[in-house]
Point group: C2
Chain length 156, copies 2
DNA sequence: GTAAAACTGATTGTGCGCAATATAATGGAG
DNA sequence: CTCCATTATATTGCGCACAATCAGTTTTAC
């Protein structure tokens, strides 16, 4: 019918392409992460903790939130589940008791070795080459920073 | 330390770039969709229903699932919420009682006019031009189809 | 014609995301 | 020192996603 309404066609939406691709990638991670008994967001948290552990830096809950763009409503229960499984420790700062430092345990650090093979296994057999991944990743990072730069979507 | 472990650096993960960009876009939709009192997945369902309504075709729950890559565990409660608000109808097929047809109501159809301005308003002021969006969208669609082509991630 | 298999949705349970609110501690301004 | 705004995390509630299971229906095999 009215062709100007194609702006609402599902296949013309960047948002849906992002939404579907994101869930497809997450679905591909799922069986690999199941071997470690981790969910995908838990895996992302562990990536940050492993990185900080190598650098000897301390990670607070708010650091995880800033890095992963998640708030305490998501992180607190997630971290509690990881702590129950003895993968991380949550320790309240004695100097400033508002702060909770999160660190991987020995068991959590050991898991890193198993995780190292995941990125390679993930896309093998998909026919997506390294160069293409890097280009897409950088474009997504650029778009993300543009989206985050402006405070209000409607101001202007 | 060991540089080969950069494969686990958060900033080197395509998956995280996708994850973060997807949530940033969804967050930008949220205030616009709030004007229609829709969540983002509800909006995607309405897009499919509007499209089918224009073509005069019938949409079953499984059609929505195939198009949006969602299963009934997600769709059934979502559709019930839309039905409670009189935006869609859910009608079980009398010939084959396994099938449930979903269609927008008059109120649901009327909502489309308000929705039409959303895509334009969304990215205005972000400095992301049309050409770039189309290119990114097509690349995501290509990667999605590659990811969905292969059944098993691990069968080499 | 009956039994087995496949299909379509619904239900249940777990774990995110995220808004809104609460709690508690800190760091000033006076 | 006291009040108060700010900061950091926790709690609650709702709506997805998705796995697992179940209940009818229809189709297929024999």
């Amino acid at each position: 019918m009215s062709t100007d309404d194609d702006v609402l066609a599902l296949d013309n939406q960047l948002c849906f392409a992002l939404y579907a691709a994101n869930r497809a990638v997450t679905a591909r991670y799922r069986p690999l992460l199941a071997e470690l008994n981790l969910t995908y967001p838990q895996y992302l948290v562990m990536l940050v903790l492993w990185e900080a552990h190598q650098e000897g830096s301390v990670v607070r809950v708010s650091d995880l939130g800033n890095r992963l763009r998640l708030d305490s409503g998501t992180l607190t229960p997630l971290l509690k589940r990881l702590a129950e499984r003895d993968l991380v420790t949550r320790q309240r700062n004695t100097a400033d008791e508002r702060v909770v430092a999160v660190a991987p345990t020995e068991k959590g650090i050991a898991m890193r070795r198993q995780a190292r093979e995941i990125p390679e296994r993930l896309l093998c057999g998909t026919g997506i080459d390294e160069e293409r991944i890097v280009a897409l990743r950088e474009e997504l990072r650029a778009v993300l920073s543009l989206l985050e730069a402006r405070g209000e979507p409607s101001d202007q």
